[in-house]
């Protein structure tokens, strides 16, 4: 997976939080890389470490309560080990982020315009007036009607979708090369979500930036991502192109995710196929394969699941899977057992 | 007079004499640092406020002492240390009053050439007006009531109430003559004539209760500024003529008086010299006391005057079981006088243990020992128990002791009584009352004190002037007790005493009169309605800057008229 020409290269990223209750291993050995102009989707259950990863890439973890190790190389600079000032200068300018809840992510006391201007002026030595023109420009670009008037509104005067657009405008104000969107549409209605997703796709193409989209909605991933990284318990358990992940997934957890999801594009299935049990605790991560307590095929690993952490191994071209099941067996189960069930229409 | 008051020389001081050596009590009975140098501003301060600077509306000794700076009354006490001040002399008047009609009519002749601060001449009419307005107690509530009681007013109530009427008790045959008509003979009228109420007040400038805000000066100083309850300054009155005034030296150029300062700060400021006098004249605070008495340099700047003041406890004879004289005697015997003394500040700051009412410096004083509290003054418990037995309360009884809540010394006295009476089973409950209403609404109101079972009431009294009448008349005459409250006499209503008082008043022979008052004292003591505590003393401090300092025995504090500054 590591590509020499990668724009973003994350190697063995570990982010641990020491807490009163024990060490929280939110991210535990994550590797991936990303090219300019490409989109990576990260999916996984709540608490699987998606947001922590994204904050890690921006270097936003507080040294005092987070232990970050590994490497995050953005265009040649290792963010984990660079000095804070360098990382700060990169934030906003070279990499930017869109957050899940645009209302709480914007400062309630400053106008939308002010907040965009601020983002622009940290990195560009321009006058306020110029920055304001830029802000209006950006608001217009993300499809806010009458941007020159709305620029002086406060976030709470915007509707949910407009806020998220404003967030995007703010994130894009310095033409960042890497854009991370952490659940950008979870708080929005479907119709608005569709607008925002379109907008992001268009803007990404326009700026040719690298995009990481974090979500637990497989539909969103399918709409945007070129590659998909499936996280479970702080680890990557499957990685591949979007088509691969949706059509030839090999990890039982990925199967579970697909089975849990009712789909409008298929007939009504008789029953959903959920994953049994509950997501793992990140403090007492289950021994061996973190997924083994919930895995329907655990028996077939011959006890390996509970004792040994499986390696992330290549299962096909650019397709990596972290599973004890033999490759052939996985392919068989998918083809013979799981897929038919998923596709069974009522 | 409340808040100071009293008079007479120290027993050991001969009167007169001067000294320049700083020593303890150097300004008591002698003039310390005599000087004629004029100039400077004398800085005074007081922690509480007092009733008023209006000469017709004040009853505080300090106020009478101070009023002489800006008003002149008909007569005044002679200015000087020791016994000097026991004598009266003319002030506005050329000399003392001339009695006629067997002491029922008193005539005063004013000095010529007297002027108010605005230059208008002072006439006998102004004196009459001053006295008349002081009769208006509903408006000018504070002053003494001697003129109301003794003048032959024939229903005249004062210039506000009896508008347009002339005061029938005062005649002004010419501009320089004032004649007073009394309703009974009274030999000591010259004492009345020194009350500030006889100071002249121009009728046109009288604003009733608000006159205090601008008192028109007849003395050497006049008000330059006046902020009620906070601060005022006096400056020289250029219309005052030294030639008309043999008694006043008027040394400083002005006076600066701060009201409502913090008591401890006053002490500290006098110690470091940024203040000259504590106007209250009641001595240093407990905090400074140990310092003053302990540090020789400070002690040399302190005096220990004895005030004509009795701190005592009234025993209410109208409630059970104190209506039985034996129970009252039990209280008298059981009380520990030393702790009473300690409560007031010990032998030097507190006073001498009292055995009767009249302080030693009052003429007619005799050493009484009606209820001996034992050799060590700690009470005679055996006699107390015997008295209780006689009273039919062998195991003691319960009652309340009232005191003024804001006065720590009275509170301490109540605590001291509580402890000492508990030794014979008399249980006291302490009840503090607000100072302002102590006499008007609580202890001073017969219905209240009887209904609320106030058996003992802490009290304190200073002579209006140093003679038997001036000391005793307001506290032992049962006829001054009023149902509406407000009397200082809380417990003494003995018909026999009332008659004796009338006799003493009518008595013209001074020696016999003094003896009469002494007898009254004894008779009251025998009734066991007053538990004497201590005759007040104070440790007072003079600043390093003061000159011509001495204790005026008429007021029991430094003489404010004579003091100068370096």
């Amino acid at each position: 997976m590591p590509a020499p020409d990668a724009f973003l290269d994350v190697r063995d990223l570990r982010i641990h939080f020491p807490t009163d209750d024990g060490l929280v291993r939110s991210v535990d050995g994550l590797n991936f890389s990303l090219q300019r102009g490409k989109t990576l989707g990260i999916v996984g259950e709540s608490g699987s470490g998606k947001s922590v990863t994204s904050l890690g890439i921006l270097g936003l973890h507080n040294k005092r309560n987070a232990r970050v190790s590994g490497e995050i190389v953005l265009d040649g600079t290792d963010i984990v080990n660079a000095d804070p000032e360098t990382v700060r200068k990169m934030r906003g300018r070279r990499m930017a982020m869109i957050f899940q809840d645009p209302l709480s992510a914007m400062h309630p006391y400053y106008t939308v315009g002010t907040q965009i201007i601020e983002a622009y002026r940290v990195h560009n030595n321009v006058s306020k007036a110029v920055a304001k023109k830029h802000a209006i420009d950006m608001l217009g670009r993300v499809g806010i009607p009458q941007p020159n008037r709305r620029v002086d509104d406060y976030p709470h005067q915007f509707s949910g979708g407009m806020r998220q657009r404003a967030m995007i405008a703010m994130a894009l104000s310095c033409d960042p090369e890497l854009l991370i969107a952490d659940e950008p549409t979870t708080a929005l209605d479907v119709t608005v979500q569709a607008q925002i997703l379109d907008l992001m796709r268009d803007l990404q193409q326009e700026f040719n930036s690298a995009l990481i989209i974090i979500t637990h909605d497989l539909g969103v991933v399918a709409e945007l991502a070129d590659d998909v990284l499936v996280m479970y318990g702080g680890k990557c358990i499957e990685y591949g192109s979007a088509v691969t992940i949706f059509e030839e997934p090999e990890h039982p957890y990925t199967w579970g995710l697909l089975g849990s999801m009712p789909r409008l594009d298929r007939g009504v299935t008789k029953r959903l196929l959920p994953i049994k049990g509950n997501p793992p605790s990140l403090i007492n991560v289950p021994s061996g394969c973190a997924f083994h307590p919930r895995c329907a095929y655990e028996a077939q690993t011959g006890g390996l699941g509970s004792t040994q952490v499986p390696e992330l191994v290549e299962a096909g071209r650019g397709h990596l899977v972290r599973c004890h099941l033999p490759v052939a067996e996985r392919k068989r189960i998918w083809q013979e057992q799981v897929r038919p069930k998923l596709e069974a229409a009522s | 007079a409340c808040g100071g008051g009293g008079t007479d020389s120290n027993t050991d001081s001969s009167g007169g004499g001067t000294t320049t050596t700083a020593a303890f009590d150097a300004a008591n009975g002698k003039v310390f640092n005599p000087s004629d140098k004029k100039g400077g501003t004398l800085k005074m301060a007081i922690s509480d406020s007092w009733d008023s600077v209006d000469p017709g509306d004040t009853y505080y000794a300090l106020s009478w002492n101070l009023a002489r700076l800006y008003t002149r009354s008909l007569t005044m006490f002679k200015v000087g240390p020791g016994k000097t001040s026991a004598e009266l002399t003319g002030d506005l008047a050329e000399g003392l009053g001339v009695p006629s009609d067997g002491g029922k009519t008193w005539t005063y002749k004013l000095r010529p050439g007297l002027k108010f601060e605005d230059g208008t001449p002072i006439t006998s009419k102004d004196v009459e007006y001053g006295v008349s307005r002081s009769l208006e107690k509903p408006t000018l509530v504070n002053g003494p009531t001697y003129f109301n009681d003794f003048l032959d007013l024939k229903g005249y109530k004062g210039p506000y109430t009896s508008k347009g009427q002339d005061n029938p008790a005062i005649d002004t045959p010419d501009d320089l003559t004032v004649v007073f008509h009394l309703n009974k003979p009274f030999g000591g009228f010259d004492y009345f004539a020194q009350i500030p109420a006889t100071a002249p007040v121009p009728a046109a400038k009288d604003t009733g209760a608000k006159y205090k805000e601008h008192v028109v000066s007849s003395g050497p100083y006049k008000f330059a500024s006046y902020e009620d309850g906070k601060h005022f300054t006096l400056v020289r009155n250029d219309q005052w003529d030294q030639a008309t005034d043999p008694n006043r030296k008027a040394l400083p150029d002005g006076y600066d008086v701060t009201i409502g300062a913090q008591a401890d700060d006053i002490d500290n400021q006098i110690i470091d010299g940024s203040l000259d006098v504590d106007l209250a004249g009641t001595g240093v605070q407990p905090a400074a006391l140990s310092r003053v008495l302990g540090q020789p340099d400070l002690k040399a700047r302190a005096d220990n005057p004895l005030a004509a003041r009795l701190n005592y406890t009234s025993i209410n004879p109208n409630i059970a079981p104190l209506n039985n004289i034996e129970c009252r005697k039990a209280v008298e015997y059981a009380a520990d006088k030393t702790s009473y003394q300690t409560a007031y500040g010990g032998p030097e700051a507190g006073g001498e243990i009292a055995t009767g009412l009249m302080p030693p410096q009052i003429p007619g004083f005799q050493k009484l020992d009606v209820f001996s509290s034992g050799a060590d003054n700690k009470g005679d418990l055996d006699k107390a128990k015997a008295a209780l037995q006689a009273c039919g309360q062998p195991n003691g009884f319960e009652t309340n002791v009232a005191f003024r809540a804001e006065r720590p010394k009275e509170k301490a006295a109540a605590e001291a009584l509580q402890q000492s009476l508990a030794r014979v089973g008399i249980k006291l409950t302490l009840k503090g009352f607000p100072v302002g209403d102590y006499f008007a609404l609580y202890a001073g109101k017969p219905s209240y004190r009887n209904e609320n079972n106030l058996g003992l009431m802490i009290n304190s009294w200073g002579a209006d002037w140093n003679d038997g009448f001036g000391f005793l008349s307001q506290i032992v005459d049962g006829r001054v007790i009023r149902d509406t409250g407000g009397s200082s006499n809380l417990s003494v209503n003995i018909p026999e005493v009332n008659t004796m008082i009338d006799g003493a008043i009518a008595e013209t022979d001074t020696a016999k009169r003094d003896a009469d008052w002494g007898a009254i004292d004894k008779r009251v003591m025998e009734e066991a309605v007053i538990l004497p505590g201590v005759w007040g003393k104070a440790v007072t401090l003079r600043s390093k800057n003061t000159t011509n300092v001495f204790v005026n025995d008429a007021y029991g504090m430094y003489d404010y008229l004579s003091m100068g500054v370096q």
Binding site: - | G294, G346, P347
Partner: protein, 334 residues
């Protein structure tokens, strides 16, 4: 309810509780209530525990003051004039800070030489009694009105909220002083110290409920929005049931927290009143009263040191404990 066979609701993938493995991790927290969790958290907070221990000690001291004084001191009101120089009103002892000995552990106070140790101990009784009971009163009034305002809303809320504003607008201290000053000497069949104490409790408690009510109202408002209240309602629960069973258990924590934080305020309040001379009548010892007397003798600092220290320690202990309790019980910090 008769339940159908288990099998019918589990087909290919079991929907039931995950089997044994998950059980293991849950065992550790079996049946632990929020209270127990809070207690565990509190135990870890050393400062709060220290505060708690001091509070318990103080309460014990207050209860057993007569016994302790019997062993180590003198009755609080008894005089020891021999320890004071009557002329200077300062201790006879040459030791600069007054008369100490095995029976006067903190020296004596002027002017009669009363034992400071026993007075401080007896003062604890009054201070704590008044603080506790007035807090209780504030809590009862405040919590009741707060709950009513928050739960019923509408005009009840409007009236109570205005009343709250009103009480918060009063210059409480002055008002309390004025009231304590004009109150009769005998009332409601009580007199003396008992009446004073009852009165102070009433005054302090009565003028302090506004803050408590405001907090409880806020909490109730937010609780009312929680779905479990709707759930109870949808089951047909009456208002009384919802108040008692659903809201009250959740309000106990904030009430407890603010009660512990109100106690130190009330201790200071009482001390302030006594300091200004409108507290308990003399000679009964109170800390504020002792301080106000010590002021007259400020040149000998140990008179004001001991009662001041007593107030400080008590208030600090309650504050520490209250803070700790807040951290332990506050769901936000969980």
């Amino acid at each position: 309810m008769v339940v159908g066979p288990d099998a019918s609701i589990s087909d290919q993938v079991p929907v039931g509780e995950p089997p044994a493995e998950a059980e293991g991790s849950q065992k550790a927290i079996e049946g632990r209530s929020l209270g127990q969790i809070a207690w565990r958290r509190l135990k870890r907070d050393k400062a709060a525990m220290a505060g708690g221990i001091v509070i318990i000690l103080l309460i014990l001291i207050a209860i057993f003051a007569p016994l302790i004084v019997h062993a180590w001191g003198y009755p609080p009101n008894s005089f020891h004039q021999e320890t004071m120089d009557p002329a200077t009103q300062s201790p006879t002892s040459t030791f600069p800070f007054g008369h100490f000995d095995s029976k006067h552990l903190m020296g004596v106070e002027p002017p009669f030489g009363r034992d400071i140790f026993s007075r401080v101990l007896y003062g604890a009784r009054i201070s704590l009694l008044i603080a506790f009971l007035s807090t209780l009163l504030s809590v009862v009034i405040g919590a009741t009105l707060g709950v009513i305002a928050g739960f019923l809303g509408g005009w009840a809320d409007w009236v109570i909220s205005r009343a709250m504003d009103l009480f918060l607008a009063f210059p409480i201290l002055v008002f309390a002083i004025a009231l304590a000053g004009v109150i009769p000497d005998k009332a409601f069949g009580l007199s003396g110290d008992t009446l004073r104490i009852v009165l102070l409790i009433f005054i302090i408690g009565f003028f302090n409920w506004g803050y408590m009510a405001r907090i409880v109202r806020g909490q109730t408002l937010s609780l009312r929005e929680r779905e479990f209240v709707d759930a109870a309602r949808s089951l047909g629960a009456r208002n009384g049931y919802i108040l008692r069973k659903e809201l009250l258990p959740n309000l106990l924590a904030p009430i407890l927290i603010y009660a512990t934080l109100l106690i130190p305020t009330n201790i200071l309040f009482e001390a302030g009143l006594s300091f200004l001379g409108v507290g308990i009548r003399p000679p009964t010892a109170t800390w504020g009263g002792m301080l106000s007397e010590a002021v007259h003798y400020y040149t000998i600092p140990h008179y004001m040191f001991w009662p001041g220290l007593a107030i400080f320690i008590t208030v600090l202990a309650f504050n520490l404990f209250g803070d700790g309790l807040r951290d332990a019980l506050d769901p936000k910090t969980r």
